[in-house]
Symmetry: C2
Subunit: 435 residues, 2 copies
C-alpha cells in the first residue's frame, strides 16, 4: 500500500555551542550549531516518519525553516513516497526548479538549497526506514539503473551522462560484497577535528591532541587563518604530540586571498600539512586551482561550502581540489551528493565529506561507505571527519573504533533526534533557551 506524506513538521533547533567555543574557527568565531529539522508524517499504519535536517550555525536557521515550509507546501505534503521515489531524479529536479519563484532566490544555493537538503534527506530517511535499511546499505543494494534514476543530470551532462554512470557502477559491482564485509569488520578511516578549534587554549589543544593519539587517531585537523604566528605555534605543538608519521591537516575556513594563502602555506609547509582546507572563497574554483598548483605537494581540500553539483563539476574540471569535501546538508540532499560522488570517481578525486556540525558525521558515514563499496572501490587518501560533540542528541550513536567509523545499523539516514532534544533545544521557546 502506498505511503502518503500527510504533514511536514519543521523545527528550529539550536545548541548553544558558542558558550564553550566548540566549533570556533577563523571565520566562525561564535557558532550556535543548529538544525532546520524536518519530520515527514505519513499515513502508514505503523506510524512511519522520515527525518532530515540541514545544518546552520544559528541566526539564519529561521530563514531555512520558512523556506522548508514554502517548498513543502508546493512539493511534499500530500505526495506518496512511491510517486517520489519511482523517478527520484525527476522529483529532485522538480523541487529545485519546478517553482520558478522560489528558484529565483537561489537558484540552487543559499537558504532555499539548504532547505531542499533537509526535505530531500528526510524523504531518503523515510524511504530507507520503509526498506528497513540504513541508507548506505540501501544504496549499496540498488542496481546501477536504480541509482542513476535518483540523479538529476541537468547541467552536468558535459562531464557525466547516465549511461556512463551506469557503466562506472557496473565495473566495480563484482567486489561489492567483499568490501561490505571489510567495512563491517574494520570500519572506515576517520580523522578528528576535536583538538583543533581556534577558541581552545594551547594547553587544552595539546591535551586533546594527546588524547586523540592515545585513542588511535592517525589524522588530526588544525584550524588556522586568524594569525599566522599563532598558526605556526599551534602546528608545532600538534607535531610534538602527533609525531611525523601521523597526518596533520589544516583548515583556514575561507579567510585568505589567493596570494595570501600561498604565502602562508609556504610558511606552514615545514609542519608537513597533508592538506589545506578552504584556503580562500568557496566559490573560487580557479583560485583554488591556482593555489593548488603553487603549493604542491600540499593538497587542497574544499567543498563544504560548494553549493551544488555545477560547482563541483568545475572544481574537478579545473583541478581545483585534491580532496572533495562535499557537505550532505548544503548540497540539495542525497540525490545531488550521488551526482558529485560519481563525478569525483570519474575524475579520480577522493571524497572526504564534511563532518561535524549537527548530524553531518551521521549523514557522511553513509556517503563514504556507499562510495567505497559501490563507486570508488578505494580507500586511498580517504578519511572521514569526526567531531565529537552533540552526538548524544541522536537516536543511534556513532561507533568509532580506534579512529575508524563502524557502519551504522539502524534503518534510515541516521539523523533522527531524541524527542527530549527536540523539546529542550527548540529555539527560542525550549528550556535551554529560556534559561
Amino acid at each position: 500500500m502506498p505511503i502518503k506524506i500527510t504533514d511536514v513538521i519543521v523545527r528550529d533547533i539550536r545548541f548553544p555551542t558558542s558558550r564553550s567555543l566548540d566549533g570556533s574557527d577563523a571565520m566562525n568565531a561564535t557558532s550556535d550549531y543548529s538544525a532546520t529539522y524536518v519530520t515527514l508524517v505519513t499515513d502508514a499504519p505503523d506510524g512511519l516518519t522520515g527525518h532530515g535536517l540541514t545544518f546552520t550555525i544559528g541566526r539564519g536557521n529561521d530563514l531555512c525553516v520558512e523556506a522548508v515550509k514554502a517548498l513543502a507546501a508546493l512539493f511534499v505534503t500530500g505526495r506518496t513516497l512511491e510517486s517520489i521515489t519511482e523517478n527520484f531524479g525527476a522529483y529532485w529536479h522538480e523541487i529545485v526548479a519546478g517553482d520558478c519563484q522560489l528558484r529565483w532566490v537561489g537558484p540552487e544555493k543559499g537558504v532555499v538549497h539548504l532547505a531542499t537538503a533537509a526535505i530531500i534527506n528526510a524523504i531518503w530517511d523515510l524511504w530507507a526506514k520503509q526498506q528497513g535499511k540504513p541508507i548506505w546499505k540501501m544504496l549499496v543494494d540498488m542496481s546501477p539503473e536504480e541509482l542513476v534514476r535518483c540523479i538529476d543530470f541537468t547541467f552536468i551532462t558535459d562531464v557525466l551522462t547516465p549511461s556512463e554512470a551506469i557503466a562506472m557502477l557496473r565495473r566495480v559491482a563484482p567486489g561489492k560484497a567483499a568490501r561490505e564485509a571489510e567495512m563491517q569488520d574494520t570500519g572506515y578511516p576517520g580523522y578528528t577535528t576535536a583538538a583543533g578549534w581556534l577558541g581552545y587554549s594551547e594547553e587544552k589543544m595539546r591535551r586533546l591532541a594527546r588524547e586523540a593519539v592515545e585513542a588511535g587517531w592517525t589524522h588530526l585537523k588544525q584550524k588556522v587563518g586568524a594569525d599566522i604566528e599563532q598558526d605556526m605555534r599551534r602546528a608545532r605543538i600538534l607535531r610534538e604530540e602527533l609525531g611525523w608519521d601521523r597526518k596533520l591537516m589544516m583548515d583556514a575556513n575561507q579567510t585568505w586571498d589567493v596570494d595570501q594563502a600561498v604565502a602562508n602555506m609556504r610558511r606552514l609547509a615545514e609542519f608537513d600539512p597533508w592538506w589545506i582546507e578552504e584556503p580562500t572563497s568557496p566559490d573560487d574554483v580557479l583560485g583554488h586551482a591556482a593555489i593548488r598548483a603553487r603549493i604542491h605537494p600540499i593538497g587542497v581540500a574544499t567543498g563544504e561550502h560548494a553549493h551544488n553539483r555545477v560547482m563541483f563539476k568545475q572544481f574537478f574540471q579545473a583541478g581545483g581540489m585534491d580532496f572533495c569535501q562535499l557537505d550532505p546538508a548544503r548540497l540539495g540532499g542525497l540525490n545531488e551528493v550521488l551526482a558529485v560522488v560519481l563525478m569525483a570517481a570519474k575524475f579520480g578525486v577522493p571524497v572526504c565529506p564534511h563532518g561535524g556540525g549537527v548530524g553531518l558525521c551521521q549523514y557522511s558515514q553513509n556517503v563514504v561507505l556507499f562510495d567505497y563499496i559501490a563507486v570508488s572501490a578505494s580507500l586511498e587518501k580517504r578519511v572521514l571527519e569526526y567531531v565529537d560533540h552533540l552526538h548524544e542528541n541522536f537516536i543511534e550513536p556513532i561507533v568509532i573504533r580506534r579512529g575508524r567509523y563502524m557502519p551504522p545499523k539502524l534503518p534510515g539516514y541516521g539523523v533522527t533526534m531524541k524527542p527530549e532534544t527536540l523539546e529542550r533545544f527548540a529555539y527560542p521557546h525550549g528550556a535551554e533557551w529560556q534559561a
Copy 2:
C-alpha cells in the same frame, strides 16, 4: 551634523505580472515581479529617508524581507550615515562577513545576499540624497581614492588591487567632463526586451517588434529555450521586422546543458544573433567558456544570476563572457557592483547590466553612466536593457529618447516608489492582493 538611521522599514511588495505573462521566459513561466523594499528612516531635520530594493519574482520575497530584518538589527539601525560611508568598503565587508551565523546560510549568495543588496543600495540612496545628486553623478564626482574606499577587495586581490584600481580611474579622468556632457546630450544606448517574452503570441510579438523599430530601437532581445522549433520561428519573425542591420539578441534563461546550448545556437546562428544570454547554469563559468569557444562569433552574455564578485572574477579569468550582465540587486549592492565594473574594465569586457524586473533599469542606468564617464570610457558593444513595465510605480520616470536612456536628474539611486504603490501592492494585505 551626522545623520543617524533610526529605523529600517522593510516591505514585501508584489506586482501580479503573472496574469499577463509579462516577464515570461523558458525558466520563469509565471513571475509576480516583486521587491523587498527597504526604507531607512533617519533623524535628519528635513526627514531625509533612503530607499533600496532587491528584485524577486514572488514567493521567496518574504524570505528576503526576514533576512533584511536580521541584517538591519545587527548592522544598520542606530548607525550614523557618516560612520558607514567614511570607510564604506570596510562596512560592506562587515555586513557580508561580520556575522558568521548569517554568513553561513549564504555565504554571499542567495537570500542573505539579495537582502544585503536592498540594504546597501538604500544606504547609497540616502547618501546621494544627502549630497543632492543622482548616484551616477555622485560616483562620477568622487575622486579615485574615494571610490576605491567604497570597495571590499577581499577575494579579488589576485586580479585587482586598490592601487591598480586607482591608477585605472586616474587614466580616464581627463575625459570625464566631455563624456558627461555627451551623455546629457545624447543619452546611453538601450535595447528592448519588451517584444520578446515567451508567453506572448507570435502576433503580439510581431506587433511589438514593429513598434520598437518605429520607436527607434536598434537592438531587440528574444527569449528562447523552451522549444527550438518555436525559437526558430520567432527569430524569423523578428528578423522580418528588424531587418539585418539591427541587432537581435537571444536569452535562454539557463535552460540548456553545455552541449545542447552549442547545438541549438548553431541552428539559431542563421538569424545572426549578437549574443546568447544565460545559455546554461549561471554558476557554470567553465561551461560558458566552452560554449563561447564553440559558437564564435556569437557572443556569450551572462551575469544576472552571478551572485558575487568572485564569480565575475572567474568569468573574466576564464573568458566565459563577452558581455557582463551584472545585476545591481543580486550582487550585494553598489559597492560590489563597483568592484565588478572595475574588473570588467581591466579585462576589457563591456558591462551591459540586467534591466527589467522591478527597479533594475533604474539602478542600472546609474551604473552604465558611471562606467562610461569614469571607468571604461567606451560605448563599444555597450547597451542597457530596457523593459517597459512597472515604471509608473517610481517617483522619477525613466526617460528614453529614440532608444537611448537619458541621465536621471533626481537625487538618489532612482528606486523610490510612490506611497500609493507601497500601499496597493503590499503583499498579502494590499488592495491589489485582496481583490
